[in-house]
C-alpha cells in the first residue's frame, strides 16, 4: 500500500524531533531511512506505525488518513531491533498472536492459524522450530521469528526499526540478502531504519537520508552516492574530502592559485569543495591542480590512503591511490578531482 507522509512535525516536550517532513512511499517499495542518531528516523517510523502521534501534519495509507486511526486499526507489521518476542509463548504462538487476538469472523480457526504459522516459518527458513521458546533461539533466528510474526497479519506496510542492529556482522550480511529475497517474494511495502549506510545502499530501492529532524535527500543508491545534494549527504555517505575554496571569474581558487576546475554557474565568493578520495587524477606538472605535501600514508585493504597538507594553512585532505602507485613514495603529490561539487560556505 502507498504511504504518504505530509508535512509532519513531531515535538517531544517542545523539542522538535521532526520538522516538516514529507515523503511518498510507493506501493511495494523497499525504502531505507538512513541517518545518524538523533536524526529523527526512528521517530518517523514510529509515527507511520501509530506508536506516536504527529504534533502537526498527516499520514496517509493509500487515500485514507491514517493519523486518526489507532495503532490496532492501522494494520502495520513492526519489527524491533531487540525482537520484542513474547517470552512465554512458543515460536508458533508468537507468530499466530496477531491472528488469535482478532474478533469475530476475521479470526481464523485454530487449525488455520497453526497452518499459517508453519507456512511463515517455512518462509523465514525456520521450519520445525514451532515448539521452541524464544530463549532457545539465536539472535538471528529470533529476528526471523519477529519478522514472521509481523507478516502474519498481512500488514499494509512492514516497518523495521534497525532490524539487524543487534546481530553480529556475518549474520547481518546474511539476513540482509535474505530480507531482500523475502521482500521480492511477498511484495510488502517495507520501510526500515538503519544507521548503516552499506545496509541502506545495498538493500533499499530508495534511500531517505535524514539529519536533525529533516529529510536531506531521497533517491536511489546511485543518486545518493553520485550526486549528493548537500554537504551533509556528501560527508555522511561514503568517504569524502573537503577543502575551503573561493570562486572567482568562473574558476575555483585555493588561496591565490586556480586549481584547474571551472565552475561557471557557481556563485562568486567563499565555498567548500567536496570530492571522493578515490575519484581523483594524479597530475605530473602542476598548472592548475591541488598540490600538497604527504603528511601520512596508510594502507587500507586494497588501496593506500594518503593524507596531504594543502597550501599555507596546511588544510588536510585524503586521497586514495593504488597500492603500488609510485606517487605514494613522493613527498609532494599533485592531483585534480575527477568528480566534485561546490557548496557555498556555511
Amino acid at each position: 500500500m502507498e504511504v504518504r507522509v505530509a508535512n509532519v512535525r513531531k515535538e517531544f516536550e517542545r523539542f522538535p524531533a521532526l520538522r516538516d517532513v514529507s515523503l511518498d512511499i510507493k506501493s511495494g517499495e523497499l525504502i531505507a531511512l538512513l541517518g545518524p542518531s538523533g536524526s529523527g528516523k526512528t521517530t518517523l517510523l514510529r509515527l507511520i506505525a501509530g506508536l506516536e502521534r504527529p504534533t502537526r501534519g498527516k499520514i496517509f495509507f493509500g487515500e485514507e488518513d491514517a493519523s486518526q486511526k489507532s495503532i490496532q486499526e492501522r494494520n502495520v507489521g513492526f519489527v524491533f531491533q531487540h525482537y520484542a518476542l513474547f517470552r512465554h509463548m512458543t515460536v508458533a504462538d508468537n507468530i499466530g498472536f496477531g491472528l488469535k487476538v482478532r474478533h469475530g469472523p476475521s479470526r481464523p480457526s485454530a487449525k488455520e492459524i497453526r497452518r499459517r504459522a508453519s507456512e511463515l516459518l517455512n518462509l523465514v527458513q525456520l521450519s520445525g522450530l514451532e515448539k521452541r521458546y524464544p530463549a532457545q533461539l539465536s539472535g538471528g533466528q529470533r529476528q526471523r521469528v519477529a519478522l514472521a510474526r509481523a507478516m502474519a497479519i498481512e500488514p499494509a506496510v512492514l516497518l523495521l526499526d534497525e532490524p539487524f542492529g543487534a546481530l553480529d556482522a556475518q549474520v547481518r550480511r546474511e539476513l540482509r540478502r535474505w530480507l531482500r529475497d523475502i521482500h521480492d517474494a511477498t511484495g510488502h511495502t517495507t520501510v526500515f531504519v538503519t544507521h548503516d549506510q552499506e545496509e541502506a545502499l545495498e538493500l533499499a530501492d530508495r534511500v531517505v537520508v535524514m539529519s536533525q529532524g529533516r529529510i536531506e535527500q531521497v533517491g536511489t543508491a546511485d543518486e545518493i552516492y553520485d550526486t549528493p545534494n548537500s554537504p551533509f549527504v556528501y560527508g555522511f555517505i561514503g568517504e569524502s574530502s573537503s577543502l575551503p575554496v573561493k570562486v572567482e571569474d568562473g574558476q575555483v581558487w585555493i588561496a591565490d592559485r586556480p586549481i584547474g576546475l571551472s565552475a561557471p554557474h557557481a556563485p562568486q565568493g567563499e565555498a567548500t569543495l567536496f570530492f571522493r578520495p578515490h575519484d581523483v587524477d594524479l597530475v605530473e606538472e602542476c598548472n592548475g591542480c591541488i598540490a600538497g605535501t604527504v603528511a601520512a600514508s596508510r594502507r587500507v585493504a586494497g588501496t593506500r590512503r594518503v593524507e596531504l597538507e594543502i597550501g599555507g594553512e596546511r588544510q588536510r585532505v585524503e586521497i586514495e591511490l593504488p597500492v603500488d602507485h609510485p606517487a605514494a613514495q613522493k613527498t609532494r603529490v599533485a592531483f585534480r578531482p575527477r568528480r566534485w561539487k561546490l557548496f557555498p560556505a556555511a
Binding site: G50, F78, H82, L85, R87, S138, G139
Partner: protein, 283 residues
Amino acid sequence: MTTAPAKAGWRFRQPSVIPGFGLTLGFSLAYLTLIILIPLSGLIWRSAALGWTDFWAIVTDRRTINALEISFGTAFIAAAVNVVFGTIVAWVLVRYSFPGRRIADAMVDLPFALPTAVAGIALTTLYAPNGWIGSLLTPLGIKVAYTPLGIVIALVFIGLPFVVRTVQPIMEEIDKEVEEVAATLGANRFQIISRVLLPGLAPAIVTGFALAFARGVGEYGSVIFIAGNLPFKSEIAPLLIVIRLEEYNYAAATAIAAIMLALSFVMLLVINLVQTWSRKRYG
C-alpha cells in the same frame, strides 16, 4: 545470548574460575544449620518424644484441626486478595507518575516495620462494631472484628508488601516494546494485559503469593487482637500453640508446631517446583 535448556538430573553447576565456591558454600551450610535447621530439628525432636499415638491424637483433635483450617484458610484467602490488589498497586507505582508517588511507594513497606500488635489493635479499633468502619458495616449485617473475616483483613494488611515488592521489580523490567508490538498486531489493551503482561509476571506473582501466604500462616501479633479467638470459630493455630504453652503442655505445643511446619514446607515446596518449571520454560 542463547541459554541451553538445563539438563535433567542432579549435578553441581561447574563453579567459575573465581575462587570462593568452597568458602561460601561452607558458610551457607553452617549458617542455615545454625539459624534454621537446629531450632527446627529441636522442634521435631521434642514432638517425637511424644510417641506416634499421642501425636496423632493431638493433631487430629477437633480444636487443632479447626485452628489449622482457620490459619491456612485465612492465609490463603488473604494471599489471594493481596495478589490481585498488590499487583494493581505495583502497576500504579511502576507505570504512572503522580504527586505523592514516592510517599505511596514508601507507605507500602509500613506493614513490614509496624509492630504487628499495633496493627492488630488499630484494625480492631476500626472494624469493631462501634469503630469507624465497623459501625458502617454492622447495619449491613457484616461482622468483621472477632470473625475469620477480621483475620483475613489483618493478614491482607501484613502480606501486602510481599506481593508488591516481588512484583514491582519484574514489572519495571517489562519491555515497552513488547506491549507496542502486541498493539501493532491488533491486540487491545485488555488482551495485552491478559495475554502478554500477566503471563510474564506470573512467576513473580507466584513468589509474592508464597511469601504472603507463609507470612499469613505464621502471623500471630496482629491477628489475636482482631480475631476474638473463639475456639472452633476464630482461633488460629499459632494462638493454640501459645495456649498450650501457657498450660505447660509443651508436647502438644510442639506437635501442633510440627504439623504446621510440615504443611507449610510442602506448600512452599510445591510453589517452588512450579516456579522452577516455569523458569526453565520461559528463560
